[in-house]
């Protein structure tokens, strides 16, 4: 990693700190860098004063130099106190602006690129979160760079202090000091590379660190007796991830004494010449003391701890950010405005749509022709992996079809501004997001680009049946839906599902006209599923409703049913039509219904082998 090439970009990041803060910070850092030299000079003055006082037997002769010394030490304390506060101020602003920029991209870019491994790695590096084990971020690197620029001034000052007394000394001290500095820079840079090489395996380790504290995986771990296997696996990942890094650190510790030789090489000529000269009376003792302290200051200034490591960390962020900008291109925006039909349920047509996910082998959709009529309640059914969910992602314009096209009110979706089109949509995804925010915020984010409207919020809650839940919450609408937040609470799965539905209904209130639901009833019981469908039926007309499901019992009440199979639409029609056609839908329906029909005749059929009948009333003795 060539650090200096990326320095300008790293420094540019500091602009976000604001002019005044940056000026004050620069001043403090400069003062900090100049202090070792100033300290050396002041010490020389002090010794001179002391000698003079001893010589003339006038203690007052020392007052001036004592005041100078006091001023230097006081300045040191002032900068040491001010620097952390200014640093924190700058850090908050610089990192805040950086995160805003990166996250704005990740929430708006084309979905196809967001999910590529390259993009994910770049985003991870760019954000450099401490919780993910990163130990320095953008502001740390930028401030370290500023500090090391200031140290150049400090270096010159220290060299001046010794050069003033012995003209040839600066060169003798400077060379080994630079060597120490270079060694350290190279080492830190290599360390950062090793550190980065550990990231991938650490991710595999993270999986188990999370799993062991999850009630979900926790059950598997216990039932299948995975504890020891898992811990061994974790240690394996840990060793694999860090082998290079740890070997490097071990080597570094073993050779830690080496710079000592360089330091000695730099200091020895200075100390020996000056002390010999001073003893011989050629140089005043005061000058000797100043040279001692000054040459030590050269080394101190040049090797301020871990500076180059932090700069390398900052450069890593700069490079990753550049990569993020390169990869995360915004979704191509069509020029056509989709608001011509706003307020009306849209008419959507899939024409011979083919699609497969980038990087995946299988074609998911293979020539789909599908119509969503304005205001109808349409059900899409099909086996697992038939591409039902993929239809939604295409409908939302999250991916573009490889072939074929989607028409919205007769206009090609590719030509429409995606944002405008999505304002007309509201979707309840199968794994909907549970924002760790308040209930009101959770609903309001159903249309997060508009100013929240409390009345629309309430209306949506009434329609979804969420209002009764709201009343029971400790702080009503303002209750955070996350138990680890103050005053927060945990909702049950069913309650969350209702929140997700309310979120979509809120979007309807705010002008959306097509409601899409992906497997909304997978974990609802029968009564709840029935109620849900009633609510959806109410929306029809005012908006189009598309329900995706493999449960056919409720789907049958839809206006129209479309059956997906083998990547295309194989059947469509009303429930009655499809049953009459005796095709795939009829078979699926029969399979689900058969259990009940069989049940009517008793459980006798399809029973393999004898079963000891100790069950029944005797077994349920405690039942009421």
């Amino acid at each position: 990693m060539r650090l200096h090439r990326h320095a300008p970009q790293l420094l540019r990041a500091l602009r976000a700190a604001g002019g005044w803060t940056l000026t004050a910070l620069t001043a403090v850092l400069l003062a900090e860098a100049l202090l070792p030299a100033a300290h050396a000079a002041a010490l020389g003055l002090l010794v001179e004063g002391v000698q003079e006082a001893a010589h003339t037997r006038r203690p007052g002769a020392v007052t001036g130099s004592l005041l100078v010394f006091g001023a230097v030490v006081l300045t040191a304390e002032i900068t040491a106190s001010a620097a952390p506060a200014l640093t924190l101020l700058a850090t908050g602003r610089v990192d805040g602006a950086h995160r805003r920029a990166v996250l704005a991209l990740t929430t708006s870019c084309d979905l196809a690129v967001l999910n590529t491994p390259a993009a994910r790695a770049a985003i991870r590096d760019a954000l450099a979160d401490r919780s993910k084990g990163y130990d320095c971020g953008l502001s740390d690197g930028a401030l370290a760079l500023l500090r090391s620029l200031a140290s150049v001034a400090g270096l010159l000052a220290a060299l001046a202090v010794i050069g003033l007394h012995v003209w040839w000394l600066p060169a003798v001290v400077l060379l080994p000091a630079c060597a120490v500095r270079m060694l350290r820079s190279r080492r830190d840079s290599a360390l950062m590379d090793d550190w980065r090489s550990a990231t991938q395996e650490e991710l595999a380790l993270d999986v188990w660190r999370r799993a062991n504290l999850s009630a979900v995986e926790g059950q598997d771990i216990r039932v299948f007796g995975l504890a020891d296997w898992m811990v061994a696996r974790m240690r394996g990942h840990l060793r694999d991830a860090n082998k290079r890094l740890w070997d490097h650190v071990d080597r570094q510790i073993r050779s830690a004494w080496r710079p000592a030789a360089l330091v000695a090489a730099g200091l020895l000529p200075a100390f020996v010449t000056v002390s010999a000269d001073a003893a011989a009376g050629h140089t005043p003792a005061a000058a000797a003391v100043a040279v001692f302290a000054g040459s030590w200051a050269v080394f101190q200034v040049l090797s301020a701890q871990t500076n180059s490591y932090l700069i390398a960390g900052g450069v890593r962020v700069v490079l990753a950010t550049r990569e993020v900008h390169r990869l995360l291109t915004p979704t191509p925006a069509g020029a056509e405005r989709a608001d011509a039909g706003r307020g009306q349920p849209p008419h959507v047509v899939f024409e011979q749509v083919r699609f497969r996910y980038p990087g995946a082998g299988r074609t998911v959709l293979d020539g789909v022709d599908l119509e969503i009529r304005p205001g109808e309640l349409l059900a899409v059914v099909g086996a697992n992996g038939a591409g039902k969910t993929t239809l939604i992602t295409l409908l939302c314009g999250l991916y573009q079809p490889a072939q074929g096209r989607l028409l919205v009110d007769g206009v090609d979706l590719a030509a429409i501004d995606a944002r405008k089109w999505r304002e007309r949509l509201c979707v309840v995804f199968q794994d909907f997001v549970r924002y760790p925010l308040t209930l009101a915020e959770n609903i309001g984010l159903g249309r997060g680009d508009m100013v929240p409207e409390p009345t629309a919020l309430r209306r949506a809650a009434v329609r979804s049946g969420l209002s009764t839940t709201v009343e029971k919450l400790p702080h009503g609408w303002d209750t955070p839906l996350n138990p680890s937040r103050t005053g927060g609470t945990e909702l049950s799965g069913g309650q969350w599902q209702r929140v997700a539905l309310t979120r979509a209904l809120y979007a309807l209130e705010r002008g959306a006209t097509l409601l899409v639901l992906d497997e909304p009833a997978a974990h609802l019981d029968v009564a709840a599923e029935h109620a849900l469908f009633d609510r959806l039926a109410e929306c029809r007309g005012e908006a189009g409703v598309v329900v995706i499901s493999h449960r056919l019992s409720t789907v049958r009440r839809a206006d129209r049913i479309v059956v997906l199979g083998g990547g295309r639409v194989v059947e469509e029609g009303t429930h009655r039509d499809l049953i009459a056609r005796a095709g795939r839908y009829a078979r699926m329906f029969a399979a689900q219904a058969e259990r009940f029909r069989a049940g009517e005749g008793g459980p006798a059929d399809g029973r393999e082998g004898p079963v000891r009948h100790t069950s029944g009333s005797g077994g349920a003795g405690g039942a009421r």
Binding site: S81, L111, L267, A279, Q305, R503, A591, A620
Partner: protein
């Protein structure tokens, strides 16, 4: 606090026995820097005195050790941090953290994973290994810092005992610094929630699963605004604390500076009167300025040690909790039977989740007969999943007993019992492993047996799924580690295959096994499972428990248990219950209706 020294001592011993070389390096570096600081000051004084006295040879011979001491100081400054970080990191990650994970995984139940108050502590321990080991090294650092202080005091005292009075002035900045550091720590704690919120919202903004929804609902601006508000709040609070700490610090050090200058004036006065040498002045100044640094290090490490309580307390809690959990059952006693003859009998089983005010199960008594397929049905929240969690020993009943062929379940060794059961829980793990690992972990002994894995996949109707994957059994799954992402139903089938790795368990639990699987596949899977269960049941008397709120899946069971609000309201074979016309018959009619082919729905 009383148990801390014991913990630190055991951590030091752990460090010593597992990472001897790093431990010794760190200790020697810390001790050497004490020596070097003192040596540096002494050599400097000798050199200066010799120069003033005009003794050339003595001056040069004193300058050489001064150079050596400086060089050593330079190296030690750097090495102290490197060694301490290395030994802390290595011990924490290789020894302490795996130990914590083993401890957590060895807890027989899962209550600690389902109660947020326990979970918060566990997370603190899991993420705090470095802090824990670091706190022990901080104690060592505090010791060596105090040694440095004593050396400094000794050196100053050697010039004039009066200087010792000025050394005590260092207490003022120490107290101020301590106070400031506390303020900073408090602000860290106070802003923890905002920081966590910001982090989790940022996480959502890059999450692949959330990305489609954020785009469609236009949530980005609202989400961004909320995240930035949390960020700004955290920084505002921390900055305020930082400013206060800076002011305190400056005040304290100004007092110390005044004392320092007074001390120097004293030494200068003495040297003017010939009682002290010029070298003494240099020594006093050097020592006094380094004194400031040492005080800072001491204070910071002391504060950091005391705040490590936020990790130490949960760690000690985990150890106690683990001990209690292991002791709680009257250990051992009964052996897991080879085969079931009678079955599993529940007698008045009552259970309430910790922190909950109503009973999840109340007085449930019944017999799950050996060899039977038992269905547990009821609405959401009726206690179905709780019942199976008791059978798999993830929880133990508050009262009542579970008897396995007459032996109390809680007298069995949980590990031995679980070795003989299998389960598809309602929510199962989606492991980013290869297909064969993901299935094979159902029976670790069969991990390498490809034939058994293929067979298990077939049993769960997942063989076609595997054929469609690019690298078959060796395909890595899950987008987390850039593998192939599966659909909900596909994951569920893999979980079924995992459970099928164990061939003839005494108890097989299928909790909502087909919620995300389509009708045709569901039927095929359940048919196959039931056939297998019955065949296996004949040999070992193994019981299959199917939990569902979809009655279509369970009508072929031998025994149906109907739960409502934690009570067993009905039990019997399907036909009998339908005839009885009770709650089950009503539920069944309602669901069957949805499929009946009547003219108007």
């Amino acid at each position: 606090m009383r148990r801390y020294p014991g913990l630190w001592w055991s951590l030091f011993r752990l460090s010593w026995s597992t990472h001897r070389w790093l431990t010794v390096s760190t200790l020697s570096v810390l001790l050497l820097s004490v020596v070097a600081t003192g040596a540096c000051a002494l050599a400097l004084r000798a050199a200066v005195n010799a120069m003033v006295a005009g003794e050339g040879f003595a001056a040069v011979t004193a300058a050489v050790p001064a150079v050596a001491a400086y060089a050593a100081l330079h190296v030690l400054q750097d090495a102290t941090a490197t060694c301490r970080n290395a030994v802390t990191n290595r011990v924490a990650r290789l020894e302490v953290e795996p130990g914590v994970h083993r401890e957590v995984a060895a807890l027989p139940g899962i209550e600690h994973l389902e109660r947020t108050d326990y979970l918060d502590r566990l997370k603190a321990v899991r993420d705090g290994g470095t802090q824990l080991v670091g706190s022990m090294w901080r104690v060592v650092l505090t010791f060596t810092s105090v040694m440095k202080l004593l050396v400094a005091a000794g050196l100053l005292g050697s010039i004039s005992p009066c200087l010792l009075a000025f050394v005590t002035a260092a207490a003022v900045p120490a107290v101020c610094q301590l106070k400031g550091q506390r303020l900073l720590n408090d602000s860290q704690v106070a802003t923890m929630e905002a920081v966590r919120l910001e982090a989790s919202l940022a996480e959502l903004a890059v999450d692949a699963g959330a990305a489609p929804q954020i785009r469609v609902s236009g949530a980005a601006p609202g989400l961004g605004a909320r995240r930035e508000a949390a960020w700004a709040e955290a920084h505002r609070v921390r900055l305020r604390a930082r400013l206060a700490a800076s002011a305190l610090r400056l005040g304290g050090w100004t007092v110390f500076l005044a004392a320092l200058l007074a001390g120097i004036v004293l030494v200068v006065g003495r040297s003017a009167s010939g009682e002290a040498s010029v070298g003494d002045v240099v020594l006093a100044v050097t020592v006094a300025t380094s004194l400031g640094q040492t005080v800072q290090v001491t204070v910071n490490s002391t504060v950091a040690t005391t705040t490590a309580g936020s990790v130490i307390e949960p760690y000690l809690w985990l150890r106690r909790y683990g001990e209690r959990a292991r002791e709680c059952p009257p250990a051992g006693g009964a052996e897991v039977p080879e085969a079931l003859r009678e079955g599993i009998r529940l007698q008045g089983v009552t259970f309430r989740y910790g922190g909950s005010d109503h009973e999840a199960l109340h007085g449930v008594s019944c017999l799950l007969p050996a060899g039977a397929v038992v269905a547990v049905v009821g609405e959401n929240g009726s206690g179905k999943s709780t019942l199976v969690k008791l059978l798999t020993m993830l929880y133990r009943p508050d009262s009542g007993t579970v008897l396995v062929d007459g032996r109390p379940l809680d007298r069995l060794d949980p590990e031995e019992w679980r070795a003989r059961i299998s389960a598809v829980p309602q929510q199962f793990g989606r492991y980013p492993l290869t297909v064969s690992e993901s299935v094979g972990m159902g029976d670790l002994a069969g991990m390498a047996d490809r034939e058994r894995i293929t067979e298990s996949l077939r049993a769960a109707n997942a063989d076609e799924l595997v054929d469609s994957l690019p690298e078959g059994l060796e395909t890595r799954l899950g987008r987390e580690l850039s593998g192939v992402e599966l659909s909900e139903g596909q994951w569920q089938r893999l979980a079924m295959a995992r459970a099928a790795m164990r061939r003839s368990p005494l108890l097989l639990v299928l909790d909502e096994p087909t919620a995300s699987i389509d009708a045709v596949t569901e039927r095929a899977i359940l048919d196959r499972r039931m056939t297998h269960a019955r065949a296996a049941g004949r040999d070992t008397g193994g019981i299959t428990v199917v939990v569902s709120h979809r009655l279509s899946a369970v009508s072929r069971a031998d025994l149906v248990l109907v739960l409502a609000h934690g009570r067993l309201v009905e039990a019997g074979p399907h036909a009998e219950l339908v005839d009885r016309g009770g709650p089950y018959a009503r539920m069944y009619a309602a669901q069957a209706n949805a499929y009946r082919d009547e003219r108007c729905p």
